[in-house]
Subunit: 236 residues, 2 copies
């Protein structure tokens, strides 16, 4: 089966967490909206009457006749099918719990540049963005990354759920990459207390399929349309 | 087995989505932090070294030796054990996807009164809260509730996943109750386009175990410490 991934074609965004899982799995997939006519097909699928259970928003994945939305839910589906979670319910739930914690961090990272409304430009909420970013950088980044650092210290394991990579590890890699892009000064300042998380980032980046993906044109570069945006005024 | 729920004792908050599921299931549980010494036990469990897989934040559920955190993950665990999801993977994923969409709405509802930082008082971010609430009330409430309204219109079913109540229905009930508490003017204005969602709210509220729960002292009243807060300045 060839999966169809539907997501905005010009950003990594939330779709990137799914792309990384598909790439690590070596799964066959089409990134539909990056092909001619694909973005319209995506919107038609969301708004049309053909799907009994329509997604609220991208990303969503078509797997045969099934349409699955919400990043964490897509990963919940893909995980056991592609060896991206430990066998058994306890491991599956643990990885999912970590993914949901990362999703909370991602939503907060987004709101640093859009604290008032997603339908306004950053330029229209600059002052509020600066205030929100200060709290995010000083309090939230250390709290979230400190949690993952502590998990790795407790378990002493290679990855968050043991010896094998899980989709939560791929997502933590992406979060680290995104935070370093958006907040280079802050991340340099926090680096000493995030050594294990940084090592995990490097370990994921060096995995053959991930390394090949990152070097390919399939990996969209970070930019100022996505979730992780580099606005120097917000870094500190 | 008797579950142990760990959550802040003075608010409904995210813990309420778990409470509603446990109540509808008729499950045996202790709301630990509402008992003497319970809040300290909760914090000790979170920060201590005894748990191999500690939660990032409440709510979390102890089920035997297992500790499960993240609201949606707890519901993912409880759902199939207590008949709160349809049988089969497709139905389970669908209900989870809806729950994650509701979780996004809940996070946005929280940020209406805390758009800058969770560690500042509302009073210190009033102006920003007013701006964020305007967008939430005018754009986000209709978008989210319109989505659920449309789902109910498409399927014509009693509940979101068919004839039987699921944990997503319980959560949608809670979201409706919360939004009506926090934004009575806005919700009255939107009421005509939310009739099916309102009917679902009433259907859930009338279920015998939920009705008994809502009338009991176990149900904490809405208040200005929780996620859904009534600040007249933010309603419109």
């Amino acid at each position: 089966m060839r999966y169809e991934l539907y997501y905005w074609p010009e950003i990594q965004g939330r779709g990137e967490f799914v792309r990384l899982a598909l790439e690590e799995a070596g799964a066959r997939y089409v990134d539909v909206a990056r092909h001619p006519g694909g973005e319209n097909a995506m919107i038609a699928l969301m708004n049309g009457r053909r799907v009994a259970r329509p997604p609220f928003a991208p990303p969503f994945l078509k797997a045969g006749r099934r349409v699955i939305a919400q990043t964490a839910s897509i990963l919940l589906y893909l995980g056991p099918r592609h060896g991206l979670v430990p066998p058994g319910e306890a491991g599956r739930l643990w990885v999912h719990q970590l993914q949901l914690t990362l999703a909370d961090l991602v939503a907060e990272a987004h709101d640093t540049h859009h604290p008032i409304s997603g339908s306004l430009y950053y330029e229209d909420q600059r002052r509020e963005a600066k205030r929100r970013s200060a709290s995010f950088v000083d309090e939230r980044i250390p709290k979230f990354l400190g949690y993952f650092e502590d998990l790795l210290a407790r378990s002493g394991a290679t990855y968050l759920a043991g010896r094998s990579v899980s989709y939560a590890d791929l997502s933590l890699f992406q979060v680290m990459a995104g935070l370093r892009y958006a907040f280079p000064k802050a991340m340099a300042r926090h680096a000493r207390s995030q050594r294990r998380v940084a090592a995990l980032h490097d370990r994921v980046a060096a995995r053959p399929r991930i390394a090949a993906y990152l070097a390919s044109p399939r990996r969209i570069a970070f930019n100022e349309q996505g979730i992780f945006r580099h606005y120097p005024a917000l870094d500190r």
